[in-house]
């Protein structure tokens, strides 16, 4: 809800916003954000899903190829203000891949990034525009988002898990 307010404050034409979720974690968040934007600014914002797998920079390094995920871009990106939505941001490599993918769909007027959790450990010069919560972590730790009653919706609870522990 606070992020929705921030987005409306920063963007004078909320009707030109286009939320693009990065699967899998970004998808439910983008939907929640779209609902909040409707309450805050009375706009119906387009929501898309953009899989970044084919744009990853480590595909040929790892042995087995990762599974692809769904992409669905219901709206053109030209002249829109695209807001990328991801759940956990760490190295920034996924955001880099998402930006490259986005450029293949057109020429957005601006690109902004929402990260619900910022873990630090950035490896690329990428800064988030909207952060839900900064969660400093050590390498080797993983972050898991849990909603109340097993439903992924606010208020979220952030759980630190040691690497290798099954979700």
């Amino acid at each position: 809800m606070r992020i929705a307010h921030e987005i409306v404050e920063r963007n004078e034409e909320p009707e030109s916003l286009f939320l693009v979720a990065i699967p899998n974690g970004g998808v439910p968040l983008a939907r929640i954000l779209a609902a909040n934007l409707r309450d805050v600014a009375d706009v119906d914002v387009a929501v898309g899903v953009l899989d970044t797998t084919l744009y990853r920079d480590d595909l040929m390094i790892s042995g087995e190829r990762p599974a692809l995920r769904h992409t669905e871009m219901p709206s053109a990106v030209d002249d829109r203000c695209v807001v990328l939505v991801d759940d956990v941001v760490k190295t920034g490599r996924t955001i880099r891949a998402a930006m490259d993918a986005l450029m293949d769909f057109g020429r957005p007027r601006a690109v902004q990034v929402v990260g619900l959790i910022d873990r630090g450990h950035r490896e690329l010069p990428i800064k988030l525009d909207y952060v839900g919560k900064n969660v400093p972590t050590r390498t080797g730790e993983n972050v898991r988002l849990c909603g109340a009653n097993g439903v992924l919706e606010p208020p979220f609870e952030v759980v630190l898990v040691a690497e290798g522990v099954a979700a």
Binding site: L54, Y55, G63, R65, A67, L68, T71, D104, F105
Partner: protein, 315 residues
Amino acid sequence: MKHRDLLGMEDLERADIERILETANHMREVGERDVKKVPTLRGRTVVNLFFEASTRTRASFEIAGKRLSADVVNFSPSSSSLKKSESILDTARTLDAMDPDCVIVRHSVAGVPKCIADVLSAPVINAGDGAHEHPTQALLDMLTVQQEKGRIDGLTVTIVGDIAHSRVARSNIYGFRRMGAEVRVAAPPTMIPADVETLGVKAYTSLREALEGADVVMALRIQNERLVGSWFPSVREYSATFGLDRARLRFAKDDAIVMHPGPVNRGVELSHELTDDRSSVILDQVRNGVAIRMAVLYLFAGRQRGRAAAEETRP
């Protein structure tokens, strides 16, 4: 993927097939974009090594490679140099020295892709070898059926035509059987291999019986230039007994789809009207061919022998 190479459907397990079909479903979306290109195989080289003439399959692989940003090189050695079997391997070794990341092989003799795979460090994709296998054709056929019917498991698939000489039939039999479909073959007795039922299919010499209750009807191309006189009396005779038209399709289920690997001999395997009918998915097959080949390149290209060797036991 358990194997480094894609030599035939016989080697694939159900999970492998599902993985390829799932990946291809996502690749189709790339083909629907304005900019139909992703950087996945940038800086990788894919070689089309086609010893046997082919326009459609080669173009399909070429487009697939280019949509993934690979550099695609077409290599078609003259047919005279293949008379000595060692020259094939020499060609392959020459190619290998240029460090390709994937080699697509088509040859008129069964087993050549396997021989080449044994000397190359790059993964090999079989694009058709003699009367043996044509795995990407079977995969694109399965993708088309899955799209049209929502599933493969439990369907009845009838393949009509020259089963004995068809790599398309063989690959489809392995693939559809592994995915849980019932497969029937229908042809004049001369074109049904004697041991075909060991592959788990039912053989029919009556088209009508073979079509009874079929969800999918797949006609194979009759190579009339090669077969007339030895395998059946005449093209007209074949078309009169095994050619498909709207009236005969009525024996199959009401919502049956008609497939053909192309190019169609109109009026022989399929009537004119049926080729252009609503039930015909022939052009969807072509479209899906690119998606399947993108998926196969994504999953196989760049998996060099050194890395894959641990996952796999090769002789």
